[in-house]
């Protein structure tokens, strides 16, 4: 077995997820929020691949699921950036505190 324990990878992924959550919740810029979400998706992928390597190495599911997550992340980034550009064109800002059209 590898000389790096499984828990090291899981701890790195947990810290990366928390940092990403902080970025996604605290940033005012919509693009900054998107970057935080990408960090969280990356942390999940580290977990998936680590579990594949240490627990279910003969199966395909761990890496396959990571590929699906990367696909979804790419689709999400494309749609989110299109939305941000559309909002910027109509409202002239990407500050989420000023995008309050749907607030009652």
């Amino acid at each position: 077995m590898s000389s790096v324990p499984l828990s090291w990878y899981l701890i790195v992924a947990a810290l990366l997820f928390s940092i990403g959550a902080y970025g996604a919740l605290a940033r005012r810029n919509a693009i900054g929020i998107l970057m935080g979400i990408e960090l969280m998706l990356n942390a999940v992928n580290i977990n998936l691949v680590a579990f594949w390597r240490y627990i279910e190495v003969t199966g395909l599911a761990g890496q396959l699921f990571a590929v699906i997550v990367i696909t979804v992340a790419a689709a999400e980034a494309a749609v989110a950036l299109a939305l941000i550009l559309a909002i910027y064109r109509t409202r002239d800002t990407v500050n989420v505190e000023e995008i309050d059209l749907l607030k009652w």
Partner: protein, 166 residues
């Protein structure tokens, strides 16, 4: 420490340090450059885990596509970048910092307390795994593969429709 542990610690320090730089830097553009370093560190962790194919995919998709897309979006929204004195965080950021630290502590405590059911067999045959992955996508896992294809198509059309000038 073995060589593998040294490489792991290096990759982990680069990943987490760059992530901290990304969320704390004032300029979103500099943050995007830090984010590229995070993606590189995660790719190194993938390769260290024996998932070389995923490491390459990570570099191609995240650094090659998503990071460039985000840099383009930052360049296309200049009025936010142009104001260096605007606060980078919203009002509740201290609360968010406490919450994120609590989440990190909870997850680390859980990871350390759980008895993971590790596989007992020795080093597996990881070489040629990309071939296995491709066969898996075309046989057992054809449904998720097709769903991902449709999702990408929908996202592509949706992004064009949303971002198009009227």
């Amino acid at each position: 420490m073995t060589a593998e542990q040294v490489v792991f610690v290096l990759a982990a320090v680069v990943t987490l340090g760059s992530a901290l730089g990304m969320v704390t830097t004032r300029s979103v553009f500099v943050g995007a450059l830090w984010m590229i370093a995070v993606f590189g560190g995660v790719a190194a962790l993938f390769i260290l885990l024996g998932a070389g194919f995923l490491g390459i995919v990570q570099i191609l998709v995240y650094i090659g596509a998503i990071a460039v897309l985000i840099l383009f979006a930052i360049m296309l929204t200049p009025r936010v970048m142009g104001d260096p004195n605007a606060p980078r965080y919203n009002r509740q950021w201290p609360l968010v910092a406490v919450m994120a630290s609590a989440l990190a502590s909870l997850l680390v405590a859980l990871v350390l307390r759980t008895d993971w059911p590790l596989a007992q067999e020795g080093a597996p045959t990881i070489t040629g795994f990309a071939v296995e992955l491709g066969k898996g996508f075309m046989t057992t896992y054809i449904l998720p593969f097709e769903v991902a294809s449709v999702l990408l198509l929908v996202a592509l059309i949706g992004a064009i429709v949303i971002a198009r000038e009227e």
